[in-house]
């Protein structure tokens, strides 16, 4: 049963990716991206990675996609231009993507992810929280610091543009 659902999500992802590649309408491409991201979250749930699925929905489907839609709307319909995508340089793109794919699959097959953390099923959040604040405290604090810098930077940029 889980296999069937998994294949269902795989098919959804393929459809979404195909639509992103072949549609001419930017906004349709963004919606297809949302489909891909939500289906990925579904696969995470089937693999028992609940928290990852939630974060996927919250950050990507709820955050990034909406930011993209907003950007497209601001640029095209408000100004009266329609945005259409074109496919150019398809040969270069093909070579590049094959190269990236082979190198990535090489890396993933060679590297051993030795440093694994066992997540206990009912309390994934607790386990992740504890490992963030013990084993990975430096990375955690650094990310928090970078986010703070980004926030301050964004506030600064917004202030300058409002003064002009």
């Amino acid at each position: 049963m889980i296999q069937v659902v998994q294949y269902f999500f795989f098919i959804l992802i393929l459809i979404g990716v195909g639509l992103i590649l072949w549609t001419k309408n930017v906004i349709h491409a963004v919606y297809s991206l949302a489909l891909v991201l939500v289906s990925l979250a579904g696969i995470y749930v089937l693999l028992n990675a609940e928290l990852l699925a939630i974060v996927q929905i919250l950050l990507y489907a709820g955050g990034v996609v909406i930011l993209l839609v907003f950007g497209v709307m601001m640029t095209s319909r408000m100004k009266g231009r329609t945005l259409a995508t074109k496919s150019k340089n398809s040969l270069v793109a093909l070579i590049l993507s094959v190269a990236i794919f082979t190198s990535l699959s090489f890396v993933f097959s060679e590297v051993s992810f030795s440093e694994r953390i066992e997540l206990h099923q009912p309390n994934q959040v607790e386990d992740i929280g504890i490992s963030f604040l013990t084993d990975h405290i430096v990375a955690f604090e650094l990310i928090a610091f970078i986010l703070l810098v980004a926030l301050v930077g964004a506030a600064y940029l917004a202030k300058i543009s409002s003064n002009e």
Binding site: L58, F70, Q124
Partner: protein
């Protein structure tokens, strides 16, 4: 599954009578009678309206973006209704058992923005587009204070599981409720209600669909059944946030009466049926508060809306998060 089936049936019935209740509330606040003709005291008015709405033509203007236009209402409703799958109903029926239930709920209901944007964009209409733009800006801004106020509760209860949160409030009646047990939660509760109004696009935050400026906002171009789905989602969102509020702050399915020495009122008023009864009556009370606010306060301006969220609610909720952390430390020591 049983909870979800119950919530689906309850939601459909709720919407019909909530619309009636809303019109009656409005009428009494404005010192008039409201619907009186259909049925006793006009109680069947919305049923009649519903029948009329279902027979209307499903109009698709020729210049709309077809597929997104058709699926947008469904996305909005699915996003809101998925949230219901995580809510417990009483001590036995606990809903979906996702360990990060509360987190998932907040994540999923934020997806309805996507449907609203889709509707506004696909309608190919300036009013709809402006409505959906406002709606997205508003929902995204108010997600921060609502998330932080929920987080304040999570800090104190120490769990993301809504059933666990309800169980922690069992036994002492009214005195066991989070709001009474931990008085620091009063301000997060107020922030939760205010941002909840904004999240469900209700007055005083109904800018996305303000009739006087934008005709109907993002659902201007919709008619018949698809328009009905938008209404269903709006009322569904109200109910969802009210149930969430009553679980987090008002004891969920627990009875408000404490056990006193020989008079065990709490045991008398708990059980399968009573659990559902208490949860739903607390939630409907919160829904009534939302209606009451709607007919009492005028609509905010866009800039007032934004400054309320970013300059007042967000800093205050961050401060309350800090205070709740201290409160938790004090409780532990």
């Amino acid at each position: 599954m049983l909870t979800l089936a119950f919530y689906l049936a309850f939601l459909l019935i709720f919407v019909v009578f909530a619309v009636y209740g809303e019109r009656k509330t409005a009428a009494f606040i404005q010192n008039r009678l409201g619907p009186m003709e259909v049925g006793p005291k006009g109680i069947l008015q919305t049923v009649a309206d519903l029948l009329k709405m279902l027979q209307k033509e499903d109009i698709k203007a020729s210049s709309v973006d077809k597929l997104p236009f058709l699926i947008a209402p469904i996305i909005v409703f699915v996003a809101v209704f998925t949230g219901f799958s995580l809510l417990p109903l009483n001590a036995e029926l606990s809903g979906s058992t996702a360990s990060g239930g509360l987190f998932l709920l907040l994540a999923i209901i934020s997806l309805d923005v996507l449907g609203i944007l889709m509707a506004g964009w696909a309608s190919n209409n300036k009013y709809s587009l402006f409505g959906s733009m406002r709606s997205v800006a508003q929902i995204i801004s108010y997600e921060i204070p609502i998330g932080l106020s929920v987080l304040s509760v999570v800090i104190i209860t120490g769990t993301l599981d809504l059933q666990e949160t309800s169980i922690q409030q069992t036994g002492r009646g009214l005195l066991g409720w989070n709001l009474v047990q931990h008085p620091v939660l009063v301000i997060p509760f107020l922030i939760f209600i205010i941002s909840g109004l904004a999240e469900s696009n209700r007055t005083p935050f109904d800018l996305p669909e303000s009739e006087s400026e934008l005709v109907g906002g993002y659902h201007t171009e919709y008619s018949g059944f698809r328009w009905g789905i938008f209404m269903l989602s709006e009322y569904g969102m109200m109910l969802l946030l009210s149930i969430l509020g009553s679980i987090l702050f008002l004891g969920g399915w627990n009875s408000p009466f404490p056990n006193m020495e020989f008079l065990s009122l709490s045991d008398l008023t708990s059980g399968t049926f009573w659990g559902v009864f208490w949860l739903l009556s607390k939630s409907l009370l919160l829904v009534f508060v939302q209606m009451w606010v709607r007919w009492t306060l005028p609509r905010l301006r866009v800039d007032q809306l934004m400054s309320l969220s970013w300059k007042y609610l967000t800093p205050v909720s961050i401060l309350m998060l800090f205070i709740c952390g201290i409160w938790k430390l004090w409780l532990l020591s």
